[in-house]
Amino acid sequence: MSVLVLVEHDGKNVRDPTLPAVTAAAKLGEVHALVAGSNVGPVGDEAAKIAGVSKVLVADAAHLDHELAEEIAPVAAKLMDGYDAFVVPATTTGKNIAPRVAALLDVMQVSDVLSVEGPDTFTRPIYAGNAIATVKSNDSKKVLTVRTTAFDKAARDGGSASVEKVDAGQPAGLSTFVGLEASESERPELTSAGVIVSGGRAFGSSEDFHKLLDPLADKLGAAVGASRAAVDAGYAPNDYQVGQTGKIVAPNVYIAIGISGAIQHLAGMKDSKVIVAINKDEEAPIFQVADIGLVGDLFKIVPELTEKL
């Protein structure tokens, strides 16, 4: 089977979520990688070094800048003539593009793949991860988005793939990129961090959220996450959200502070290796999944913890 992986990049470098997608794709067959963008020659060269990739296709044109789904999807769909499967990391970029490619191919996508059980059989979470479905795709081609925490990262080096330019197509001209308001942070990225400290509504204000959590995160070299309630209340920006509809994380240690543990939140973090919960309500559902729990007032515990670490 031949598989095409869409490389996620920022215009300069291959982004991390590409690597587990390559691992998942390698379980299906020979892996080629598609780099689509504007002036992405260096990204193509970097992708060629990923272990397990045997060929890199580079579609380079101004209209492919910013990974607009309307522009990338037709390019990918056309290339799929020569492939059996299209594999994309289940990031916001991948989730935006993959279904558009699938529909162009008249294929039903398999979303958020957790494991590859066979050439056409996969497991995926449904109902916020409260059930795992094993599905068999009867389409002749497969389109998969891959949960990045469910597969090991392919090595960034060790490969020596050939690089080939491919037709970048004509601009669709349906949409224009206006801007990105990026969250600036010196901390590790949420989806690849080894340790995450995550805060909930119990912090009561944006000020306390940051005043208490940021120093703790800095002490631990951790990323900062948040529950939906905390994001909705404006304590933290949207890209901090961990959960069913936010980011899916699986760090070595996840420290949930003032988070009660709604099923939608648990869906995003219950695959963490160790879960630590700090909550004043000892009946909070978060304690049912926590390996280590501490019942008490976060306004006292967090500063003390930060100081003693």
Binding site: L68, A69, T92, T93, K95, N96, I97, A98, P99, R100, A102, A103, D106, V107, M108, Q109, S111, T121, I126, Y127, A128, N130, A131, I132, A133, T134, V135, K136, N138, L174, S175, T176, G179, E181, S183, L220, V231, D232, N238, D239, Q244, V253, K270, V274, V276, I278, E282, F287, Q288, V289, A290, D291, I292, G293, L294, I301, E304, L305, K308, L309
Partner: protein
């Protein structure tokens, strides 16, 4: 402008889903069902666009069993003008839903179609993007802000790195994220009024769409369960545990 809003009847978000003993799926017998929360946000956004004078008519569409009429009545009570139910007892996949909606779009000729970004039952996050592909329209997915300006649609999107803004030609697809708006509750008079708003019923066959599933469910199982661990009594004990895990020195 005319707006089409797609709504799905799903398990209520407060209900904890239970996997059936025989592994055939999730038990939905006698379970509270509601409008998919993201679709409520979609209906609310359509109503706000109408209130701002951007839109003149809102048509709500649902694909599902006869009981999905209740979901459509909710949309009508919130403020949609009329509704279409594409009735089927089959479980319809996003690709087939997108095909049905594309046929309805051919008939209704909306300027904007608003959908929830994902349904909280199958969690696919695919229908809006697929519909956009089938219609050849632009897609503003995971929207946290929607503004109509100078014949275009400016959509701010919740992406992994922050907030991205795109400008879309109209007609366009918008899929909603959580923070786009806070949906209103329908008032009692509006619930009463909704009962007399038009609701048309069709079938996938009427629209000439094949809804045969492409993905076969082999089985549905419970996820591996986490066991509750220990509780520590003090910050000092917690610090010791964290040190033992190697995350603190």
């Amino acid at each position: 402008m005319k707006l089409l809003v797609a709504v799905k009847r799903v398990i209520d978000f407060n209900v904890k889903p239970r996997v059936k003993m025989d592994g055939s799926g999730v038990d939905l017998a006698n379970v509270k069902m509601s409008m998919n929360p993201f679709d409520e946000i979609a209906v609310e956004e359509a109503i706000r666009l109408k209130e701002k004078g951007v839109a003149t008519e809102i048509v709500a569409v649902s694909i599902g069993p006869a009981k999905a009429q209740e979901t459509l009545r909710t949309a009508l009570a919130m403020g949609a003008d009329r509704a279409i139910l594409v009735q089927t007892d089959a479980e319809v996949e996003p690709l087939a839903v997108a095909k049905i909606l594309a046929r309805i779009a051919d008939e209704e000729k909306p300027d904007i179609i608003v959908l929830g970004k994902q349904a909280i039952d199958d969690d696919n996050n695919a229908t809006g993007q697929m519909l956009a592909a089938l219609l050849g329209w632009p897609q503003g997915t995971f929207a946290s802000k929607v503004e109509a300006e100078g014949g275009k649609l400016k959509v701010t999107r919740e992406v992994d790195g922050g907030l991205e803004t795109e400008e879309l030609n109209i007609p366009a697809i918008v899929t909603t994220d959580l923070r786009l708006n806070e949906p209103r509750y329908a008032s009692l008079p509006n619930i009463m009024k909704a009962k007399s708003k038009p609701l048309a019923t069709k079938t996938p066959d009427d629209l000439g769409v094949d809804i045969k599933r492409r993905l076969e469910t082999v089985k549905v199982s419970e996820p591996p369960k986490r066991q509750a661990g220990i509780k520590v009594g003090s910050v000092d004990e917690l610090v010791d545990k964290l040190k033992a895990l190697g995350v603190a020195k």
